[in-house]
Amino acid sequence: MKRIYLDHAATTPTAPEVAQAMLPYLSGVYGNASSLHSFGLEARTAVEEARARIASFMGAKPEEIVFTSGGTESDNFIIKGFALSRRNKGNHIITSSIEHHAVLETCKFLQGQGFSVTYLPVDENGLVNPDDVKKAITAETILISVMHGNNEIGTIEPIAEIGAVAREHGVAFHSDAVQTFGHIPIDVNDLQVDFLSVSAHKLYGPKGIGLTYVRNGMKIIPLLHGGDQERRRRASTLNIPGIVGFGRAVELAGSDMRAELSRQSVLRDRLASGLLSAVEDSRLNGHPIRRLPNNVNISFAFVEGEGLLLNLDMEGIAVSTGSACTSSSLEPSHVLAAIGLPVELAHGSLRFSLGRDTTQQDIERVLQVMPGIVYRLRAMSPLARKGATA
């Protein structure tokens, strides 16, 4: 049985070209990029090539890129580091209620340190209203953090509009672009962002490497101390294989991003409309149009997401769910709650996230097996209407 991976929002397969590019740096080229000798120079050269390529891909300058271990570190670094550096200027941070936990939990941590945080609501499609951002700004506001594309429901936020509001008020602006970088075009000047968080493994790069974009002139206190790497913004020996792989992944994205964007959007829409018409009492979560090209999030009434996930897994199809039962908190997704989805529907939600390797046949196979799986679970659900079918 061919396995079908539809969980690219969790992580993507490392592209063979990426793995190939990394190999020399896992063995022969082992110098420390900080060393002055020729071994160090080889490593340094590879890092700076990757840095320049990645920077130019987002309209940034090479010195504005700080390599990190990934999205979580980048979010922590920017939010904590910037809040601490502006502590005497103000203590207020604005974010949205649908951010990744790396942002939300960091904000909560800062609340415990004396900062105050506004969590903006979103509309039923998951959109943050730039006017709400404007109204939330006070004399104390130092940072606004709103994600670019939501990892669960795929809604793409009006980042350029929020960036304009931030700039108009002289407030720094961060966006978590982990789900969008390499998938939809990003230019830091068009988006008017001061900080971005990016992770390589979401765009067919290796795990354990990511970056923060830090606009020139923005002061930020490091998370890691103990070395002069990354212009003293992040101490730690550079992850050379990771950085080289990241650079190669960005190069690949540069060559096929636009084509993939339209190809995957077509498959996404086919999957969404196919599921909605094949399965009664189902609904699409997230914005119908302003959404990631690879994201389909559907709630199936009367059934629970983990059961759906396990049944799909038995068919070799990998997806994820916003159901409580798969989280340690036992609470359903905060994102689905924020868009006003009734809790019982949140429990029955599945996220399908497509990728470069997803084919039309894969989508047809999902459409073929899904109604039967929902029907089987509904048949044993006390919530299903009498005689309800898929």
């Binding site: 629970e304 059961g307 897994d313 039962c325 036992l330 019982e344 044993m380």
Partner: protein, 129 residues
């Protein structure tokens, strides 16, 4: 068949082929437990003759562990006296399933509560409580 990560084969067997699914047409007792807000709800109906559970059916909205423990519970109490059935603990059900992931142990309480609620209902109907 693809191997699933979280559950052992026995749990997956009961999830895939749950025993005693449905509703009894003329139940002597019906009970429910859980609520849809928490993400699991179980409904159980029992048929009792001479203090013995002759037949039992369940319907569950919930995760894999909730469905598997519902199924195993019905299998374990079928043919038992009311008192014997009441002595079947959620731990015993989890053990009979070869263990559940720690985070899923609370799911096993659901079936125990639903069964107790059905037995209470049976006793009420028969003026025994």
């Amino acid at each position: 068949m693809t191997q699933t990560g979280a559950y052992n084969d026995k749990v997956m067997d009961h999830f895939r082929n749950p025993r005693n699914v449905g509703e009894l047409e003329h139940p002597d007792g019906v009970g429910t437990a859980g609520n849809p807000v928490c993400g699991d709800i179980m409904e159980i109906s029992i048929q009792v003759e001479d203090d013995v559970i002759k037949d039992v059916r369940f319907r569950t909205f919930g995760c894999g562990a909730a469905i598997a423990t519902s199924s195993m519970t019905t299998e374990m109490v079928k043919g038992k006296t009311i008192d014997e059935a009441l002595a079947v603990s959620n731990k015993a059900v989890a053990e009979a399933l070869g263990g559940l992931p720690p985070i899923k142990m609370h799911c096993s309480v659901l079936a125990e509560e639903a069964l107790r609620s059905a037995i209470d209902d049976y006793r009420r109907r028969n003026g025994k409580s």
